[in-house]
Symmetry: C2
Subunit: 471 residues, 2 copies
């Protein structure tokens, strides 16, 4: 009996959230919001779409993935691609000199969806950013602290990879990469987490036109990873004279000190292959990866399509990422405000947590009490108005309660309703008992034999409260 | 030093939410979410855009206000115009036979913005809907209960206007309005809350081409308002034989019974002029209005532009609205699921509550403790790593804390930081005291003379917890 000639579905790459998933997701949001508040964060909410010009020139190659609104007269707008550029616009347009803000909201990318990898066209980001002119690496180390505290609170196993854009640029320069080629070489190197060196080497030579000797030199660097101290040792042994590299190394030494004070050094791997896709990073960059989010084994056999790796954010294994971007606010023509931030990828974290959750223990409802009427036979009117009056007394006391929307409610249907709502107690209006001024309070889910307690109507709300507290 | 040639702003009709406004808004969201949960509601989250076909043919004249996404290859999509049609699509596509769902999210209308009236192009709705085949008027009366409980919880003065589409249609038919003219006559009548009868009469005759005698007959009905019982008396005195009217009157009699049981009858006004703009309503309709949201006096003097009244939802005075829509789910080609719901208009409610709030008592931050170092002179290193270590101990115990991101932090700047964050306590690392194993805990905002308590480092976290509990 289909009356429509179109598919009844959500648009490609989007989904409905419902039922138990919402409870699990809200728990993640609450954990992260509380974490952000713990560090002095305030929250903001920006429009889902921005003037198109705001987004232009901020995302490099990925700009092609931006969703535009149709020109229906008036301004030309695009859906936000991330929460970072709208944040920078917010800081610039409100002339803010310092803020720690968090923002949990949806972003939009016209990417090839890969649901199994948690890559959607509409997906959530949970961002925390610190904007302001501060001393070197202090906010950066707090952001790392937040990243690590967050993933630990969510009970996720992870490692955080670190690198520094200045060091990376310095290395490429040192190895002889032309300035115009840095971004494309960088994006090849970034694939080392998923591909062996030989594949990346081949890509740099054949697709990115780099001379063999340049690529060999790059290889000596980007295979290096270890603790911050180890990778600093390695870099110093290379005697880099390049200004960028020297500055980056100095900054990493400062950072090394601070992560010790925060006792988070053991979670960090200083990995010279980490490059990150986005254009706007200028300093420290980082990415948290988890073994739990590695691709299923059969995926490895399949050839990865090129467009399946276009999303810098929700790549395989990456569950949170960020970095320092000191020039983004200044691009909006206002004074320059240095920023550093972290973005948690909710879809991926959600999948990990859901896979570990006993779904039987999760109820999407918050109902505590189900109000029922028991009766039948001649003269039985179903006690509808009486149930309404009784449930209204519960609602007035803030108690979560439901009843069956039937004039004469069948006993079985009422118990089914109570079970569907995961109600803990039934308040029962018996055909004989209720006219005598009593209702019955019965603990649900404990078998048929338990008849419950008969209590006076004047006292039932208090008794319900007591019993709910005891459960 | 502007580097951009475009205006640095949000798109027309949209705004950033930030600072204290976010705290006030979150409080509204929490009040309403808890209310919805109290009535057994579960929450869902649908995509911001839907396939355009899903929205087509659901909103009547208002369809011109729908935002479309640009055709960038692939599906043609539009931003959601309300949460009701996506809900119906959700119910249909997931083959749901019954659900009580709430949804708090943004919707989009290319309307003429009128910020002073709270009419935006991007704005929030808070919806609660009951879908399922139930006995007459039972869910409807619970929805009215929720509407009234919600506005009372938010401490807003209001009246709820009720009407019934079947009665309205029956009246128009009875008065001789042609079926094809019902919607346009209806929309003229709907203006009676803002315009005198003479203006509406003129519009019906001159713009909507209705004969004078038809309009006169309509006038006899639509000026009627009163309690449900009073308006039912009035209708019965008219001896309507029309099938629609008779059915509607019967339903209102049933409702009258139930709202008595819920003790909400005194908030209701059965007003035959209420028509509501949206096409999809089929039964009971309602709208809560507040005197607090009447237009400022100087607005009355200005001539209202036609397009300023295009938004059915956030009309002057209306802060929540809804009704029964039994045929919307069935339009998606699946089985028909009757629905009834309510939508709270957050922007308008927000304005009312904000105007009554003492903003000095609202802080956007949740910071409890500010960690400071006091010192100076020769050999003073600023205790940065020490502050990091101390604050880390607070964070690990879940305490909201901040510190100044400077190597050597000036005392005045630290107090300014603490004040900006509304911190309640300072934990102070003194140049002499700290090396001896002590920190100072000082209650903030109580004047300079209070030096605070000196406590051992091993004990400071516990002492901080104690003091925070006492505040």
């Amino acid at each position: 009996m289909a009356k429509t000639d179109y598919l009844l579905k959500t648009p490609k790459g989007t989904k409905d959230w419902a039922d138990k998933d919402m409870i699990i997701r809200d728990k993640i949001f609450n954990t992260l919001s509380n974490l952000f508040k713990k560090h002095g964060g305030v929250t903001i909410d920006t429009p889902v779409f921005e003037l198109k010009e705001i987004l232009t020139g901020k995302y490099g190659e990925d700009s092609k993935l931006i969703y535009d609104l149709k020109d229906q007269g008036g301004e030309i707008c695009s859906l936000r691609y991330d929460l970072t550029v709208p944040f920078a616009r917010f800081v610039a347009s409100n002339n803010i000199s310092s803020i720690k803000r968090y923002h949990i909201a949806k972003v939009y990318r016209r990417d090839q969806p890969a649901m199994t990898k948690g890559r959607m066209r509409e997906f959530y980001q949970c961002d925390f950013d610190i904007a302001g002119q501060y001393d070197l690496m202090i906010p950066d180390s707090e952001i790392l602290n937040i990243l690590i505290d967050g993933l630990k609170s969510l009970d996720i196993e992870f490692t955080v990879k670190l690198n520094h854009r200045k060091i990376l640029d310095g290395i490429f320069e040192h190895c002889g990469v032309k300035e115009a080629d840095v971004r494309k070489v960088s994006s090849a190197v970034d694939k080392l987490d998923k591909s062996p060196w030989e594949a990346v080497e081949k890509e740099m030579i054949e697709e990115k036109d780099q001379p063999k000797e340049v690529v060999d030199k790059i290889g000596e660097f980007v295979k290096q990873k270890g603790t911050i101290k180890e990778t600093l040792e390695f870099l110093k042994s290379k005697d880099l004279e390049n200004k960028n590299a020297v500055e980056g190394i100095e900054e990493m030494e400062v950072l090394s000190n601070y992560v010790e004070a925060f006792e988070i050094d053991k979670y960090l791997s200083f990995d010279l292959s980490l490059a990150r896709g986005l254009d706007y990073y200028t300093g420290l960059i980082y990415e948290a990866i988890t073994s739990a989010s590695a691709p299923p084994k059969d995926v490895k056999a399949k050839k990865l399509k090129d467009d399946e790796d276009a999303s810098a954010f929700v790549g395989v294994g990456s569950i949170a990422a960020g970095g320092r971007y000191d020039k983004l606010v200044g691009m909006f023509g206002s004074k320059s405000i240095p920023c550093v931030g972290i973005s948690f990828g909710v879809e991926r974290i959600f999948s990990i947590i859901k896979s570990k959750t006993n779904l039987n223990s999760v109820s999407p409802n918050h109902t505590d009490v189900y109000v029922m009427a028991f009766g039948g036979g001649e003269g039985w009117n179903g006690f509808l108005k009486e149930r309404m009056s009784i449930i209204n007394q519960l609602w007035k006391q803030g108690i979560n309660a439901e009843f069956l929307y039937k004039n004469k409610a069948n006993i079985r249907k009422q118990f089914e309703g109570a079970e569907k709502s995961s109600a803990k107690l039934a308040v029962i209006l018996g055909k004989e008992e209720f006219p005598q001024g009593n209702v019955r309070i019965k603990r649900l889910g404990q078998g048929e034999e338990n008849e419950g307690d008969l209590v006076k109507i004047e006292e039932f709300v208090e008794k319900v409260k007591q019993q709910l507290e005891e459960i």
